[in-house]
Amino acid sequence: MPDLRVNGQAHRLDPPGLRSLAEILREDLGLTGTKIGCGEGHCGACTVLLDGEPVLSCITLAATVDEREVTTIEGLRDHPLVDSFVRADALQCGFCTPGQIVSASALVADSPEPTRDAIRHRMAGNLCRCGTYPKIEEAILSWRG
């Protein structure tokens, strides 16, 4: 197993076998900001970036990550989206929020001034049962403060 590179740091791991990236992040590295809502790739709470692209870490085998850089919410704590989510009240229970912010970070990296339609398209894979969607839309629209 090559080192797993997470948020700019290399981690030497035991052979991960068939364990998912989400399990490795949460259980072995203690990076519990990545949540598991369904464990089968349907809710988006476990979203992390692989070389900047959002992926569902609960259905990504850790062994397939290879050389790619993993970015979790812990690596995005100073991202302006964190403040804009809090400012806009774009979270209630907050369980889906790290995944929402990780997805949104990829969106604003691609398109710094996203339209409402683009937000609705790109964020549709991140479920929020509390229904904070209108505020998420506002938070992403105003992410630069």
Partner: protein, 765 residues
């Protein structure tokens, strides 16, 4: 205005021990409560320095940065993981079960079968009922071991049809009958009568954090980390189960990933985690998978509503009747689906019967305004069908039948501003012509509305402490839990307001039964109206002590001093920074304590509102899109307008799922749940969300507590389905009568409407 002796039922002495009524999700009980209430005058209506102004939620940063540790994130040294064997059958008997192969599997530390725990059964009555449990070093090992448990089943034929269950007398409890006036006479007096059957589906809570608990024993005492809406309820239930003093059980829930009603009990998983931890001497986690969650953790039960409504030609209601069948499940309780019919309108003749069908499906549990969401769909739809028949304006029909006092038990309302909600709805309702005119081709557009009634007054007991140190900052200490509704933020605002402190100088601790006084559950729209007055009283107690100290220090009378914006101000113009006064304490502390007083005697405390929905319907494909929902609610004083708007939006979006997409589907033969994943069970996404306009009246209830604030968690979901269905009728003339409004249901209703408009066409051929 509020007058405590009168509101206590004429008792001029503020009693320490009183008998008071407590309402839980519409069910009333009487109980003794020891109170020590501050006789605080309500603040004037409108925004104050902190209360009534938008505040960012106090836990926001920790949650957004992924630092918040939920129950799902609790990892204790040596912790074991549990996998639960759940019945694959809706109705069965375990003929033989052998746990030995599982116990011999790698990593397994303990296994329990039906004879070992009250939470396990050898006669499962629904698919997903817990039968056996295995604790192992990892969840993967526990799951693998479960495969080795050898079970022989006698599979029985399940009873799945609620109407058939009623016919066979398979009921969860006695049928509930309610009657006022004479329904038959009311129908005879009516100029128009509508009879219709409405159906609502079973929906699943699907909080993103599944039900889970971690238990650890220490010196005979139990520590419980639980994803729960009520740490004190868990404490009491587990203490009773293990025959322990209540405070030997400590329950912690600092961050919580959503509940919506289904997390007020320990649950099978909670008892199993505690029992397995006791058996192994290790900390044990029992966390449900998403698929278990959707079989075995409660639901909003389906309903069948056979309704009749009659009115005179001027719209005056003369008769409302309902036969309700609730598909409760194998266990659980029937929610008050007839409540809106009994309570919402001033109809003299009302008769309802509610039967709870005991069938081989997962038990129901409270789900955001249980019963009233379902009952409002039926009632508010039949009211619009009646309006159409009488050619009356639906909003006018509702105005005409406004109830000035509660007709169920003759009590006055503590406050009711529904007519003001209606007045504000006019502007949204007036968009109707313009919206309809935008119909184009197959896409028909229309506007609909529905009224809301629900509880939300809260009640005692609930307590709070406020501590202040030398630095002039305040710390609110409570034993409540914030499940994401933002109550901790509202409580901190209330303390800041009373102490005259900037919001950023107030901290709040909560979610630990060892580190704060008793608090109510986060359910029933009751947390803010229950906890808020306790926090205000505690802050007032602390403020009084600050003023006493300042009066002595500066040689002024206490009565001329007040706290404002972090200063002690005197009437003659003197001003001292608060920390100058509290600085005298050095390591000393000021401790204020407060409690929630009783509710006003003899009054009905309810929340009200109306929602106006705009929809577009493709009459060729049956696709329904909701474009806009305006929500106007009367919930008393609003503490945090920002958090309140989030609650309204969240309620409407959950209501949107309930209306259009969500449905627990069962295999009609076996009773197996087919919608176990979040792929199969259709929650709303960000792409489905309409424009939502929130208007809260923000009129304090003059009789209710020192705040005049009611709860807001549930009201917004109550009228959404009916408002959407009524907008669909406005757009297309079709009467949708079954939730969810799938394309099949929409096309069925359109076909029925076409046949209704051409009644002679068939005969002519």
């Amino acid at each position: 205005m509020r007058h405590l002796p009168e509101d206590r039922g004429g008792d001029s002495l503020l009693a320490r021990l009183i008998r008071t009524e407590k309402e839980v999700e519409g069910r009333y009980t009487e109980q003794w409560v020891v109170v020590e209430e501050d006789d605080l005058e309500q603040w004037p209506a409108g925004p104050r320095d902190t209360v009534g102004r938008p505040a960012e939620r106090v836990t926001g940063l920790a949650r957004a940065r992924g630092e918040a540790r939920y129950t799902a994130d609790v990892q204790l040294p040596g912790m074991l993981h549990t996998a639960v064997l759940r019945s694959p059958h809706a109705s069965a008997r375990v003929r033989r079960i052998d746990l030995a192969p599982a116990l011999a599997a790698p990593g397994v530390r303990a296994a329990l079968g039906p004879d070992d725990s009250d939470s396990l059964t050898g006669e499962p009555g629904y698919p997903g009922a817990a039968v056996a449990a295995v604790a192992a070093d990892s969840f993967a090992q526990a799951s693998a071991a479960l495969e080795l448990v050898d079970v022989e089943w006698d599979v029985l034929e399940p009873l799945l049809d609620p109407d058939e269950a009623v016919r066979r007398g398979s009921l969860i409890d006695e049928t509930t009958h309610y009657e006022r006036g004479d329904l038959e006479q009311g129908l005879a007096e009516a100029d128009a009568v509508v009879e219709a059957e409405y159906r609502t589906q079973t929906v699943l809570h699907n909080a993103l954090e599944t039900h889970q608990t971690v238990c650890e024993w220490e010196g005979g005492r139990l520590t419980v980390y639980a994803s729960t809406q009520w740490i004190w309820g868990i404490r009491d239930r587990l203490a009773a189960h293990f025959d322990l003093p209540a405070d030997w059980v400590r329950v912690v829930c600092r961050y919580m990933g959503g509940g919506f009603g289904a997390k007020t009990e320990p649950g099978d998983h909670g008892f199993l985690a505690a029992e397995l931890a006791q058996a192994t001497g290790r900390p044990v986690r029992c966390a449900l998978t998403r698929r278990e969650e959707n079989q075995a953790t409660g639901n909003r039960h389906a309903t069948i509503q056979r309704l009749v409504a009659g009115a005179r030609s001027d719209g005056t209601l003369t008769a409302l009747g309902g036969d309700y069948v609730m598909a409760v499940g194998w266990e659980g309780w029937k929610s008050s689906t007839a409540g809106p019919m009994q309570m919402l309108y001033a109809c003299p003749n009302v008769r309802t019967d509610e039967a709870g069908a005991k069938i081989n499906t997962g038990p129901n549990d409270a789900f955001r305004a249980p019963g009233f969401v379902e009952g409002t769909f039926g009632l508010e739809c039949i009211l619009d069908e009646l309006a159409a028949k009488l050619d009356l304006d639906p909003l006018e029909l509702r105005r005409r039948n406004h109830a000035d006092s509660d007709l169920v038990d003759g009590r006055p309302f503590s406050s009711k501003n529904l007519l003001e909600c209606y007045r504000r709805a006019d502007a949204h309702w007036a968009r109707r012509d313009e919206v309809r005119a935008r119909s184009k081709g197959a896409w028909k557009r229309g506007v609909g509305l529905a009224s809301q009634i629900w509880y939300g007054g809260g009640g005692p007991p609930s307590y709070a402490w406020v501590r202040m140190g030398a630095d002039g900052r305040a710390h609110v200490i409570t034993g409540h839990q914030d499940i994401g509704t933002g109550t901790s933020t509202a409580l901190a605002q209330i303390a800041a307001e009373e102490l005259g402190l900037p919001f950023d100088r107030v901290e709040i601790s909560f979610g630990d039964s060892d580190r704060g006084p008793y608090a109510t559950y986060s359910a029933g729209s009751s947390t803010t109206p229950s906890m808020g007055p306790a926090v205000r009283a505690a802050a007032a107690d602390a403020a009084r002590q600050v003023i006493e100290i300042a009066a002595q220090r500066y040689q002024v009378e206490e009565r001329v001093l007040r706290l404002e914006n972090g200063n002690v101000l005197s009437a003659d113009g003197g001003s001292w920074p608060l920390e100058e006064v509290t600085g005298l304490l050095e390591d000393g502390q000021i401790l204020g304590k407060g409690s929630r007083g009783p509710n006003p005697a003899g009054m009905r405390i309810l929340t009200f509102g109306i929602q106006v929905a705009e929809v577009a319907v493709d009459v060729e494909t049956g696709e329904v899109r909701v474009d806009r929902v305006a929500a106007i609610h009367d919930v008393g004083r609003v503490i945090n307008p920002l958090g309140a708007s989030s609650q309204v939006e969240g309620g409407i979006i959950q209501g949107l799922g309930h209306t259009l997409s969500e449905q627990r589907l069962l295999d009609p033969v076996s009773g197996a749940v087919l919608t176990q994943s979040l792929d199969a069970y259709k929650l709303p996404t960000i792409a489905d969300v309409p424009e939502i306009v929130t208007e809260l009246l923000d009129i304090p209830d003059p009789h209710l507590t020192s705040l005049g604030a009611k709860g807001l968690g549930e009201p917004p979901i109550v009228p959404t389905a009916a408002a959407i269905a009524n907008a669909i009728r406005d757009a297309t003339g079709a009467n949708v009568r079954s939730l969810p409004i799938t394309r099949e249901e929409m096309l069925r209703a359109l076909k029925e409407a076409r046949e209704r408009e051409r009644p002679l066409a068939g005969q002519a051929r």
